[in-house]
């Protein structure tokens, strides 16, 4: 979804591709963070 939005935005406004790309990557990293939290909590429960 985020990538689709970014692609749409780049298609509409190709000059801003660089900025949109970096914003997209940050957004993707933030979305991914939820999974990382689950991982951290699982690891902490497992080892502590």
């Amino acid at each position: 979804m985020a990538v689709k939005g970014a692609m749409d935005a780049i298609g509409r406004n190709p000059e801003a591709a660089g900025e949109i790309r970096s914003t997209m990557i940050i957004g993707a990293a933030l979305a991914e963070a939820v999974a990382i939290y689950a991982f951290v909590i699982a690891i902490i429960i497992l080892f502590v």
């Binding site: 990557i25 940050i26 990293a29 933030l30 963070a33 939820v34 990382i36 939290y37 991982f39 951290v40 690891i43 902490i44 497992l46 080892f47 502590v48």
Partner: protein
């Protein structure tokens, strides 16, 4: 297939200076700090108007972060917060990249366990690694897994939750300091309790920022270390010509990317929090306007809780 992967949640102790235990993460952190200070000092010592290769490459890093900071926080506030953000970014970045060096997590000494649980090292390590550590998890330390445990000399600083927690506390503390400096103590509280009932949510939001910042960075770096270890072990276990060498390269690249992105995310989020906290009346005007039109937007800090 026997995978010899050793996962250690807490940083291992190398030696102790007085009451302070020096862990491998701490030692690596000092080395990285020394390298960063040395590089930046060397770059700034003989600075010229027309920079050489070395100076301009350091200037590129500084310029990149400065652009980001000035673009988000504006010139006036940006100049105040630039040192913090630049420091966070460069340190986290270099620290994350340090996890990719060969020898990290694999060069170390074998630590003899003197605890009651003396399991013969070697074959015991192979089979029920998961089951083994699950049993051990009921004990106090995850360390007494086998008779011998490899304690690596180098461990990325951000693979230690203490480190990321400290950095997140500094970041969120700085947010409060800048917020109070911009509005005063009363102003800061008023800023947070814009409609009064939202104040508790804002407070929880501030606390959760600490958790989310630290857990995100720790999780990414730690998961990266574990992933690399597993992939190297898997590659080695397959025993097909050259595969152990080529196979983990994909993941090394992935880690290179994640290390940079996470450094960027940490410093960018700190920057955004700082900017939000010290936004002036102009900003809160916008805020009022926004949730007059759109009641769904009212809990403004909600995205911070989620990410």
């Amino acid at each position: 297939m026997d995978l010899d992967v050793h996962v250690e949640l807490a940083a291992e102790k190398l030696f102790s200076v007085g009451p302070i235990e020096v862990t491998n993460s701490m030692a690596t952190m000092w080395v990285i700090m020394a390298i960063i200070i040395l590089v930046f000092w060397l770059a700034a010592r003989k600075r010229q108007l027309v920079p050489g290769k070395f100076q301009s490459s350091v200037e590129m890093i500084v310029g990149f972060v400065a652009n980001l900071v000035y673009g988000t926080a504006g010139r006036k506030l940006g100049q105040k917060v630039l040192p913090l953000i630049l420091g966070l970014f460069v340190f986290i970045w270099i620290a994350n990249l340090s996890g990719l060096l060969p020898g990290v997590g694999s060069i170390g000494y074998y630590h003899e366990e003197s605890h009651a649980e003396e399991v013969v090292a070697g074959d015991a390590a192979d089979h029920d690694e998961e089951a083994d550590s699950a049993v051990v998890a009921t004990d106090d330390h995850a360390e007494e897994e086998h008779g011998k445990v490899l304690v690596p000399f180098i461990r990325p600083p951000n693979a230690d939750l203490n480190m990321t927690l400290a950095m997140a506390l500094i970041a969120v503390g700085a947010v409060q300091v800048f917020g109070i400096r911009a509005h005063g103590v009363g102003g800061r509280i008023k800023h947070m309790a814009d409609p009064p009932f939202i104040f508790p949510i804002e407070v929880i939001g501030e606390v959760s920022r600490v958790v989310s910042l630290s857990a995100r960075l720790f999780g990414n770096v730690f998961a990266g270390e574990v992933l690399l270890a597993v992939m190297f072990a898997l590659g080695a276990a397959l025993k097909i010509a050259l595969l152990p060498v080529v196979f983990p390269v994909i993941f090394l690249f992935l880690e290179l990317m994640f290390g940079t992105i996470q450094a960027l995310v940490f410093s960018l989020l700190t920057l955004i929090y700082l900017t939000l906290a010290s936004a002036h009346a102009h900003g809160s005007e916008h805020h009022d306007e926004a949730h007059e039109h759109d009641p769904a937007r009212q809990p403004a800090p909600a995205p911070a809780v989620g990410d």
